[in-house]
């Protein structure tokens, strides 16, 4: 009887220890420390997530319409061809393979920016919802990064001059607000680099497609 009582007691205690240890370990992890974010950070995060969810909802609607078109098209080849053609146009534009036009912002930049600064600007534009970006006429793809060449910055093998233009297609207000906000990328860069960076809204921009061959050499698609 005593042994049974001891076993039950030990089981109960071990269970409690286990649960508390798991709780303690979890509380020490660094998943998303929402509680340590300021109200301002949280508000910015809500704005970012809301915009992205809204994009996802729109993409889901488009995809659903596309599935419907395929279903309605059935054996009618014409409909399937139209849907496939639209899909191809969207994907090649998204990847940066073909030229695109639209409203957005242009940044007139003059001075000594290092590759990190240029890559940070590109990252900020992407984060602010830019759909297509070009730097001095070089279309930015997933693989494009600014690197230091022998005498100048280089993107995708093309030299970028000291005075260059960065263009991004997207919401003019959204992009400008993000770039120019206090503590934003432009004000931060001005603290560290000797450069003039002026962002202006543009009603009509036209960005070229990339000249890079994006077809992978070693990566193979998986069915």
């Amino acid at each position: 009887m005593g042994a049974r009582l001891a076993q039950i007691s030990l089981f109960g205690v071990a269970l409690m220890v286990g649960m508390l240890l798991v709780g303690q370990l979890r509380s020490q992890a660094r998943p998303i420390e929402l509680n340590s974010l300021t109200a301002q950070d949280l508000s910015a995060l809500i704005e970012t997530l809301s915009t992205r969810n809204s994009d996802l909802r729109a993409a889901l609607l488009d995809a659903s319409a596309q599935v419907r078109d395929y279903q309605l098209g059935g054996d009618r080849g014409g409909s399937a061809v139209t849907v496939a053609r639209e899909d191809l146009e969207r994907i090649t534009a998204f990847a940066g393979l073909i030229p695109v036009k639209g409203p957005g912002v242009s940044l007139d930049i003059e001075g000594s920016l290092d590759p990190i600064a240029v890559n940070d600007l590109i990252n900020e534009l992407r984060n602010s919802g830019a759909e297509a970006i070009a730097v001095d006429g070089v279309r930015i793809t997933a693989r494009s990064v600014a690197v230091q060449g022998s005498g100048a910055l280089v993107i995708d093998g093309i030299e970028i001059s000291r005075h260059f233009e960065m263009q991004a297609i997207g919401s003019r207000e959204g992009l400008l607000n993000s770039l120019n906000r206090p503590g934003g990328i432009i004000s931060q860069l001005k603290l560290f680099v000797a450069a003039s960076i002026v962002a202006s809204p543009e009603e009509h921009l036209e960005l070229p497609g990339t000249r890079q061959d994006l077809a992978p050499k070693v990566a193979r698609p998986v069915e």
Binding site: S27, N53, A84, L97, G104
Partner: protein, 248 residues
């Protein structure tokens, strides 16, 4: 012969007392930790944090639904392939475009880079933020990998595409629409020699290598003969940009 109990009363009483001490210690630590977190959070912040969590849940659901729809579309296109010459040609072009855009799952040789917060005890007076992985570290590592010839990259399973950003929110990192936390595992498919090129790349040597050495950030690299990178699942819809004169 009478059964001999495995524990006499004093023995198990001591064991339970010791275990209770551990429970008390861990429980107190847990309680204190909760208290500190509670102090950080005002009611307004709690409301905002709840909104963030709701949005994240919604994002997960939307991404899942979108992934399912895209699989359905790929299935339609695969089934219609070969039915007509034009469609067949378009579907082949679509496969190539998806591959270039990061919308296909891919396999290939490459490099795995892992980075995590330092395990060192933060010296008194030192900034604790120096000892954790920062968003700049991830950006530098990814830039170094692209510059070293990577063809496809994923960060903790998030495939990078033309619109992907690596964004810091407090000490958390947002990639595409996913919140990521350390350890960060960056997988890059690339041709032979990627490790040497990566380790010699200025984007790696510039900041992140120095932080790894100075603050003891956990860091490891390994080449792999086969990496399997997921496709990007997210919005590829263009609201503002319109294709120009596409000859498709």
């Amino acid at each position: 012969m009478a059964d001999i109990p495995r524990f006499t009363r004093p023995q198990w009483a001591v064991s339970i007392a010791a275990a209770l001490v551990v429970v008390g210690f861990v429980g107190a630590a847990q309680w204190n930790g909760s208290g500190v977190r509670q102090q950080f959070t005002s009611s307004a912040q709690q409301v905002l944090a709840r909104q963030v969590l709701d949005l994240q849940r919604e994002e997960g659901l939307l991404t899942q639904q979108l992934g399912a729809k895209e699989a359905q579309i790929r299935d339609f296109q695969a089934r219609s392939a070969g039915s007509q010459t034009t469609l067949d040609s378009l579907n082949r072009q679509l496969e190539v475009a998806r591959l270039a855009a990061g919308l296909s799952r891919v396999q290939g040789p490459g490099l795995v880079v892992e980075i995590a917060d330092s395990k060192r005890v933060v010296p008194v007076g030192d900034n604790p933020a120096n000892f954790i992985v920062l968003v700049d570290d991830l950006r530098d590592l990814v830039a170094a990998l692209w510059a070293s010839g990577a063809e496809a990259i994923s960060v903790n399973g998030e495939r990078l595409v033309a619109t992907s950003s690596i964004y810091g929110v407090g000490s958390s990192v947002l990639v595409n629409t996913a919140f990521l936390s350390p350890p960060f595992r960056i997988e890059a498919i690339a041709a032979d020699g990627i490790l040497d090129r990566f380790q010699a790349n200025p984007a790696f040597l510039g900041r992140v290598k120095q932080r790894i050495d100075a603050y003891g950030l956990e860091f490891a690299t390994a080449t792999a003969t086969t990496l399997d990178l997921p496709s990007f699942v997210g919005s590829t819809r263009l609201r503002w940009a319109t294709p120009v004169g596409a000859q498709l």
